[in-house]
Symmetry: C2
Subunit: 356 residues, 2 copies
């Protein structure tokens, strides 16, 4: 069966401020040594198994031009612009109705645009295995990540080790982000995977589930589908999308549906959740620093220093994140990376939109 | 007797990098909340007891224009440009020969241009007391600072508590920077003062000492004096100054001469030796931060953040120095302030003169 992909690129993440901005979110940034942006890497990664004309990008209309610039070979009509963010269920539904007009049925991979994967071949093998499971009946397959440590920032998937379908396991339930103690228990049972937010299913399977489990959303998607290619396409999309309930596919579909499978992956996945990830992703020098740009370090260790043209001199520092941009410089202790959002809150309160 | 002053402003200090540069050293920077530069404050401070036309600035010729800009009322001929730095003895000699052409004799205050004084009235009282001692015979008076703590970065003056002249004590000897243990002993004896590098003497007294203790320097100064106002003034100054031995007045004169007195001062003296001084000088907010410019702090304590136009966001920091300028930003742990010079060494080695 034909393989297609929907790459979700509508996020407005704030955790890479000041490099990421409202008009340049994380998926459009280069955070790796190869200079490619996150979304470019995401597309490149799946090209061996999905043709470029079958890759769809769901994004906010503000980012249409960024997508066009960064993915110049992508057909224009494959850029799906959400008039407003309504979480993943409507986004995936929009992708599915577009693909359903092109193919009677197809396998649909759903992938975030801002994760990194170290072992690409292993990742592709998992995607192929997932497609095999998805092609049977109306199975919905979520890709689970074999956990390395008791992370408390992710949701988990509990699977039934004794109920397999191909290389996947039946999902018993999805669980919210646990506390550390619970996360440790999960790890010990060996029956939990991290929920990566990557999915594989047939277009028919997912649309059928939206119809039965989210009937209002489905009705809206039908109207959008009927309007595609007509003069009313934009206005119908706008009207119906605004009216839709904001809902994640996890909560709206996966937690309620039958025939949910998970396939464990151990392909060096990283959700690149904060500047700390850059310390894992990029080359580290002998002093433990990750340094880019015009930077001098003196007696400085285990720091992330992302300079540009301006000279950054770091003296006697440890475990710091320094990020310089044209109009703003962040200096942040590594263990305070979660507080970067407070800078943005402050900027919002003060209406200093030029920095957001 | 007429009171005159020589303000020494030839220093090229590197400890306020990146704000201070080779073409804008510390004495021309504003480091206080009032916005005035160090040299402006130094001149303003003594105006109640020395007329502006009797204040001379000794500086490097590269800084002539900076002096003119920052001290617009000062007569042009009061800016004495050293062709090359030859330490304090030739500098003071140059000032003395200029003043000796204007007055048959006069009291000469010698002051660094880059120190701060908190209690100005007390300082002026000390200067007046020092002048009284200096006017008698050929006494040379150095202003000592009553030490607050066992500083190891200053030289000390040992005085004879039982040999007074007016409000000053006879100096027994000058001692080099001590180690901590020795500095503690000095403090305990109550017979040691910090050597501030501020002096009071008559023109006749200092020139006579140069003549007897530094005869070669004196010979050069005589030639310079004779050429003042002639077409050869600049060429003679250049030739003689280059030929002079580089020598401090402490070593060349004070440690060898008779009739040396010190007058203790406790007027809130600060030599503003590094960025740490800014934490003492400027207003500190509730979080213990000294903040200027376009700065947002989140959970940040006891930091010095000197921003300008660019937004500086400091998150989760403690005891840090952050200094932003047009083309360079310093981020330095407070206890590594002494390592800022290593940044400059690095820049010199790499011939990156634009940053020096």
């Amino acid at each position: 069966m034909k393989k297609t992909a929907l790459i979700m690129a509508g996020g407005r993440g704030e955790r890479f401020w000041p490099r990421s901005r409202r008009n340049l979110p994380k998926q459009f940034l280069s955070l790796t040594d190869d200079g490619k942006t996150m979304i470019q890497l995401t597309v490149e990664r799946i090209l061996p198994i999905v043709d470029l004309e079958d890759i769809y990008i769901a994004t906010n209309k503000d980012y249409r031009n960024l997508v066009k610039e960064q993915l110049p070979g992508l057909p224009d009509e494959n850029i799906l612009c959400e008039p407003v963010g309504r979480n993943t269920a409507p986004c995936i539904g929009l992708g599915a109705v577009h693909i359903s007009r092109k193919y009677e049925d197809a396998v649909m991979y759903v992938l975030p645009s801002d994760h990194l994967i170290k072992f690409n071949n292993m990742f592709l093998t998992v995607l192929k295995d997932a497609a095999e499971v998805a092609e049977k009946g109306d199975n919905l397959v979520t890709i689970g990540i074999t956990p390395d440590y008791p992370e408390t920032g992710y949701g988990y998937i509990k699977f039934r080790p004794d109920v397999m379908e191909g290389r996947s396991y039946e999902v018993e339930r999805f669980v919210e982000k646990p506390n550390l103690e619970v996360a440790k228990e999960y790890l010990a049972t060996e029956q939990y995977l991290w929920n990566s937010g990557m999915f594989t299913w047939k277009i028919s399977s997912i649309l059928d589930r939206i119809r039965t489990l989210m009937p209002d959303t489905y009705a809206g998607l039908r109207k959008i589908r009927d309007a595609i290619g007509t003069p009313e396409e934009d206005s119908v999309l706008e009207k119906e999308f605004f009216a839709m309930e904001s809902q994640s596919v996890d909560y709206g579909i996966m937690e309620k549906a039958q025939h949910i499978y998970t396939i464990p992956g151990a392909f060096g996945w990283d959700d690149v959740g904060s500047w700390l990830a850059v310390g894992r992703i990029k080359k580290t020098n002998e002093a433990g620093n990750v340094v880019d740009g015009n930077v001098i370090t003196v007696n400085t260790h285990d720091c992330i220093v992302q300079g540009q043209k301006k000279l950054i001199a770091a003296v006697g520092l440890e475990n710091m994140i320094i990020v310089d941009t044209e109009d703003a410089t962040l200096i942040c202790a590594k263990d305070s990376a979660g507080d970067i959002k407070k800078v943005l809150e402050n900027l919002k309160i003060c209406h200093r939109d030029e920095y957001i």
